[in-house]
Symmetry: D2
Subunit: 113 residues, 4 copies
């Protein structure tokens, strides 16, 4: 993670691009990249989405890379680390959805069922 | 990263939630979480977006955690690692935007200027 | 459509909110509202998505209203009309996907099949 | 509006595309098109976003058309009309944000100020 953060800072610095990278702009770019992932799945059935061929998988990996890059750049503007943020959020979710209570019920997911 | 992947698998397994986690559904959830980050910045000026107070920062960290969680879960469905994907994409970007050529010009960013 | 445009202008004017309504900010708000629609469908099967109950339908109508409001406000910043834009785009799509050629093949939709 | 709805039904029918158009899939497509609008504004300043040139404006009108098309198709799956939904939502917003109370304060927009 630290290596990625350093590489991203150097990459933007060498190109004089920091001035475009306000948190507001990075948030927009993050959502655009997330939508490019959605685009790959929008007309697929659930089953088709589980079985991408090699070419589509290579494209998906690039898009995942883009989301990770903008997420890390945004987090870095505030000294945050996405991996640490994910672990913290997992603890919050553990407390919020205790396994013994939600197992089989999956309340989080049954809003529409 | 590996610890996060294992923790996410265990978390979903203990709750019997894997059946909801098709790549298609995870892509949707990823984009929804990215939009929750956009929502925090939508009415802010660029300068305001650089200066969040402690309460807003704590909320943002939770949202960053959510994006990281769904990105990792989606990647894991194909045996991909977001950190590796980001590093690979950086190499592609380095080749695509050579520093000596784009510095000062920032062609990537000037589409509308 | 014209009535809606006038009502939206009056609504923002009475509240002194035009200063927040730059096209950039309206584009962000539009995408956030679109994501709130995605959120309602993210864990549903295709079949479940076709059969929302009355309560969920009322919520969906509100979200559709929100998207329409921000789309109209954004378009109005440039003197554009979403309905006219949709009709124009239909003509472009008609030329791009001739019925006799794509029927049964649905190339647009089979990228991943 | 009714003409657009009829034209969209005919367009999908002639191409045998209705089977791709579940509400879940249309919601995804809607959000992807909204993100394509965000993409046009992501690196622009607020002022730049107010002054698009003719070429960029023509592109934007196409994207607005795309959002309107998918929003109308999604709404039509439930017999809803985006224009009616927008008018209803305006009434809800009027009650929620009375002009005399929010004028000058703009509480809705000051969450981060």
């Amino acid at each position: 993670m630290n290596d990625l953060i350093k590489a991203l800072r150097a990459f933007a610095g060498e190109r004089d691009w920091e001035r475009y990278h306000s948190p507001k702009n990075l948030a927009m770019a993050l959502s655009v990249e997330a939508a490019e992932i959605v685009e790959k799945f929008q007309w697929l059935s659930q089953d088709q989405s589980r079985a991408l061929d090699a070419g589509k998988l290579a494209e998906l990996e690039e898009e995942i890379g883009d989301v990770m890059i903008y997420l890390t750049m945004l987090a870095d503007k505030y000294g945050l680390d996405p991996l640490v943020a994910a672990r913290k959020k997992m603890e919050i979710n553990r407390a919020k959805y205790p396994a013994e209570q939600v197992r089989g019920k999956s309340d989080k997911y049954t809003e529409y069922e």
